[in-house]
């Protein structure tokens, strides 16, 4: 037993703690990752090819080299890779299944969200969130991000394989509470992102490459595109007390944009291509609207996200 001020914990078995009132504090990602891989010929006759590969933490660099960094920033835990083949009518096809366990459900959604453009097609047969194509299928489920790629496959083949795989994941859709703060009106479904780490922040916009935003530390953000103005709205939570960043953001805007001005705590500028950028900070959170065509619509989005 462990006594903490105001709390009594009982250690039950490896990776689990129970509180005195019986609620379970479980280690993250209770399901063994290998149970998610379809067995030989389990999924539509696809035969397993070779042994599965396993990578944990920094070993991911061995698999995808520089591409590993963003996964690590999203709390990557482990990866299991399995390959499958099937020959029909003399034509051989291959599927590679990558199952990534992330630190949390939000992280699984986060890495999924930065690896899409936002214009992908979703399958109604695979639970949210997912997208499909003839070469690739992505989805997030519980704390897992799953990437399925095919060579000489059809979209239906990949979709069916994905359906068989997602059925093997015990948990449900990834929970990302922060997404609930994005205004729903005019939000384009499929464009939402959960941002953790500076690489994902830079994917959102080069504006977020600067260290003062805090994405290398505790800052987190959610974003989405809105149909009326084509703008992307970003809500940032710095994760700790932050002094006002207005002057730093202003210097940044002046570096990238023209007609930079501020009024009532809202900073605004315009790119050479006529896209609008706006910023407002209130304590530990900030709203940024970027790349919009309509300044008025952008300001309205910013007001909406920042209102109390």
């Amino acid at each position: 037993m462990i006594f903490l001020p105001g709390l009594l914990l009982t250690y039950t078995r490896a990776g689990e703690y129970k509180t005195a009132n019986g609620s379970l504090l479980a280690e993250q990602g209770g399901q063994a990752i290998t149970t998610i891989l379809p067995a030989d010929k389990e999924a539509g006759g696809w035969a397993r090819k070779g042994e599965a590969e396993h990578f944990e933490k920094a070993a991911l660099f061995g698999h995808i080299d520089g591409g590993a960094e963003i996964f690590l920033q999203y709390g990557f835990q482990e990866l299991e890779i399995a390959r499958y083949t099937r020959t029909e009518a003399g034509k051989a096809a291959e599927i590679t299944l990558e199952v990534y366990r992330m630190e949390s459900q939000a992280d699984a959604f986060g890495i999924y969200s930065v690896k899409r453009a936002g214009d992908e097609k979703a399958s109604v047969h695979i639970p949210w969130p997912n997208w499909t194509s003839d070469r690739q299928v992505n989805f997030a489920r519980d704390t897992f991000y799953v990437n399925i790629t095919g060579v000489d496959t059809t979209e239906k083949e990949l979709e069916d394989f994905a359906v068989a795989t997602v059925a093997k994941i015990a948990g449900g859709p990834p929970s990302v509470p922060m997404l609930g703060y994005l205004p729903k009106k005019n939000l384009i479904s499929g464009t939402e992102r959960y941002i953790r780490g500076d690489l994902a922040a830079q994917t959102e916009s080069p504006l977020f490459a600067e260290d003062f935003w805090g994405f290398k530390d505790t800052a987190r953000a959610v974003s989405a595109r809105y149909s009326r103005s084509e703008a992307r709205l970003v809500l940032i939570h710095f994760g700790r007390d932050r002094e006002p960043q207005l002057e730093k953001v202003k210097a940044l805007f002046q570096e990238f944009l023209r007609d930079v001005r501020s009024a009532n705590g809202v900073l605004e500028g315009r790119s050479a291509e006529g896209r609008y950028f706006q910023f407002h900070q209130a304590g530990r959170r900030a709203g940024v609207v970027h790349s919009g065509l309509d300044a008025t619509a952008g300001r309205a989005l910013l007001r909406e996200i920042m209102k109390n």
Binding site: L4, Y17, G171, L199, R275
Partner: protein, 409 residues
């Protein structure tokens, strides 16, 4: 409760799986008392951050042995080579169609590119500007993306044809990269290239494993600890699973013996991939492809992409860069994400890797802007080019680079 506190709780919940406190997070708190206090504060819904200072904006500088690198005397063979600041660019039309390659077009383009760059009239004379028949020529490919996005064997075919035309025998040609197994996945196999050596630094042994029966890496003797090496004041601890890809730990990155002892000249054949809002192309193919212990170097990307190329084993051996841009990725890089791979259909030629990378950067950023992935260009993303230019490796300023664009007739 204020919105800030509610939002803070939402952010905190992202640290928890299924609403449960992660064991790892729990144990990461240094004392039981802190863990208890933290748990209590979360259960009470209050975020205690009073007294915390705002974070530092800048991470501490990570030193490399840049001062030593600058002392290597230059030779007549040093980069940027015979044609500083010059790039030949050939749009390839539909040469690549969903990755299916028109080999006749590739042959035409490579030959056109070499002749246009050198000003020679014949293929043999053009190649003899860069190589001699008695030299060992290393063709540095990029096979990391496997079948999805790697240097195309069809491009290497034509390069080998040119070398043979110049009198370089097959036994003097080496196709290489860091990882031998990735070369195989990308199609660089003996059956495809008979008589040509195909080799990598990191390899499995005859037992099919990375480790021998004494538990030592087969690759350990493939790095040159006797040659000048690259240092950076940052370390990562690797376990048994990642060691095969790193070969050594510590603050040193050693060059592969392929560049220090095997090859006399290097023909660099990178691919075009984005690295965030810039490109990974000639310089990174050389630096990261030649060194051990590279994972830690991703923390200092601009320095570590450029500085190693200033070592004589690369600077004085790289004679030509041929960019295989038949397919490229405009986002999701440097990993090969099929979603973002497209038929870019461009090839570029130059002796100056900095100038070629500048034009490669321009090409990829234009694609990103056109597809709406990026709306602003951040000039800081090309800091690696300026570092390379400062080291005398080539020309980074766009207005000083001459691009000769040819039509593939």
């Amino acid at each position: 409760m204020k919105k800030d506190d509610v939002l803070a709780l939402a952010v905190e919940k992202e640290c928890f799986a299924n609403g449960h406190l992660s064991r790892r997070y729990f144990l990461s708190l240094s004392a039981v008392g802190l863990a208890g206090a933290a748990l209590c504060s979360r259960l009470a819904g209050q975020e205690k951050i009073a007294g915390q200072k705002p974070q530092q904006d800048q991470p501490p500088d990570i030193k490399t042995n840049l001062d030593e690198i600058k002392k290597f005397p230059r030779t007549k063979n040093s980069l940027p080579g015979l044609f500083p600041g010059e790039v030949v660019k050939i749009p390839m039309g539909t040469t690549s169609n969903n990755g299916k390659i028109d080999t006749a077009n590739v042959r035409k383009a490579v030959n056109m590119g070499i002749i246009a760059l050198t000003g020679e009239k014949a293929i043999k004379a053009a190649w003899l500007k860069f190589v001699k028949p008695d030299e060992i020529i290393g063709i540095k490919v990029n096979p990391i993306g496997g079948k999805l996005l790697s240097t195309k064997p069809e491009v290497v075919d034509v390069i080998i044809e040119g070398l043979l035309e110049a009198g370089v025998p097959k036994k003097n040609i080496v196709i290489w990269d860091r990882r031998h197994f990735q070369l195989e996945e990308a199609g660089f196999i003996p059956e495809r290239f008979p008589g040509i050596e195909i080799t990598g630094t990191e390899m499995k042994g005859p037992n099919g494993d990375f480790y021998d029966d004494k538990g030592e890496l087969w690759s350990k003797d493939n790095i040159d600890r006797d040659a000048p090496f690259y240092t950076a004041d940052i370390e990562l601890k690797y376990d048994k699973d990642i060691m095969p890809y790193m070969v050594n730990m510590g603050k040193e990155s050693y060059f592969t013996k392929i560049v220090t002892r095997k090859v006399d000249k290097i023909i660099n054949v990178p691919i075009l991939k984005n690295r965030g809002a810039t490109v990974t192309c000639c310089l990174k193919n050389l630096s990261y492809g030649s060194l051990s212990n590279t994972s830690r170097l991703h923390k200092i990307p601009d320095q570590s992409v450029s500085e190693p190329v200033a070592f004589p084993v690369l600077r004085d051996k790289v004679v030509l860069n041929i960019v295989d841009g038949l397919q490229a990725c405009y986002d999701g890089g440097p990993g090969a994400n099929p979603k973002f791979i497209y038929d870019a259909n461009v090839m570029m030629f130059g002796t100056d890797p900095v100038a070629v990378d500048r034009i490669g950067h321009e090409f990829i950023i234009k694609e990103r802007m056109a597809r709406g992935v990026q709306q602003l260009e951040d000039k800081k993303r090309t800091a690696f080019l300026d570092i390379a230019a400062d080291l005398g490796l080539g020309v980074s300023q766009r207005d000083k680079i001459k691009v000769k664009e040819l039509a593939l007739a």
